[in-house]
């Protein structure tokens, strides 16, 4: 369950994968996320914000795939550590440093 990709090579957005990549997603998908949140604030109806939600999802999944392609091993160890420690950042500092050294935050 602590794998980043499924059988076809697509990254699975589980909680440990998303939390591991959260800092990258925050930087790369800032505009899409902000647009989605503004749309939600204007009208909480889910049918009205479907397209912005799809853009945000596409951006985040693109970030996951890109990270997996660029640094597969550090990401896999980091995701495994997060899965073991239930997404506690403080218990996975070593793996986090290794991951951010391999795929630095821009």
């Amino acid at each position: 369950m602590a794998s980043v990709v499924d059988a076809a090579g697509e990254p699975i957005p589980t909680s440990s994968v998303l939390m591991s990549a959260a800092k990258h997603i925050e930087i790369t998908c800032m505009s899409e996320n902000v647009e989605f949140l503004k749309c939600k604030k204007k009208d909480p109806n889910p049918e009205k914000c479907l397209d912005k939600g799809r853009q945000a999802t596409r951006c985040a999944l693109g970030v996951l795939k890109d990270l997996y392609q660029r640094c597969k091993d550090p990401m896999e160890t980091y995701v495994g550590c997060m899965y073991y420690h239930t997404n506690e950042f403080n218990l996975c500092r070593k793996e986090q440093q290794a991951f951010e050294k391999a795929c630095p935050l821009k």
Binding site: K23, E26, P44, P46, E47, C49, L50, G53, L61
Partner: protein
């Protein structure tokens, strides 16, 4: 009879002349014993004790503040990560909800098709805002 044997003094005329056998102090008396208080008046003054206690307390509170700063930074990291992935999760839930809602509206239209003047999917509230469905019938496995 035994007292006379023990306390015998040779040449005594009667029992009334026996020498006295008493437990008493040694000759010259006992050594003098001090019984007066002698509590020394040296050591830290009241102000010194108060300043030491106040210093220890302030150092402890300072360490508490530093620890709180560290803990707040950890919590902020966790919350920032949650904020970053919130749109992805909400978008997924929106897609799932829209699918379920469309199915539910079809079911409602089918059930209420003979009722005159019934608007399918009409909001039960008058505020004009969209409200999530109040009953738990759409997700019985959650509620």
């Amino acid at each position: 009879m035994t007292e006379a044997v023990i306390r015998n003094k040779p040449g005594m005329a009667s029992v009334k002349d026996m020498p006295i056998l008493q437990d008493g102090p040694p000759p010259g008396g006992f050594a003098p014993v001090r019984y007066a208080r002698r509590i020394p008046n040296k050591g830290p003054s009241a102000m010194a004790i108060f300043l030491a206690a106040f210093g220890a307390f302030s150092y402890g509170m300072y360490q508490v503040g530093q620890g709180n700063k560290i803990r707040r930074a950890l919590k902020e990291e966790k919350y920032a990560a949650r904020r970053a992935i919130l749109p992805v999760l909400q978008a997924e839930e929106d897609e799932r909800f829209v699918k379920e809602w469309k199915k539910y509206l079809e079911y409602e239209a089918e059930v209420m098709k003979d009722v005159p003047g019934w608007k399918v999917g009409e909001s039960v509230y008058n505020s004009g805002r969209w409200m999530p469905p109040a009953t738990g019938e759409l997700r019985p496995e959650v509620w």
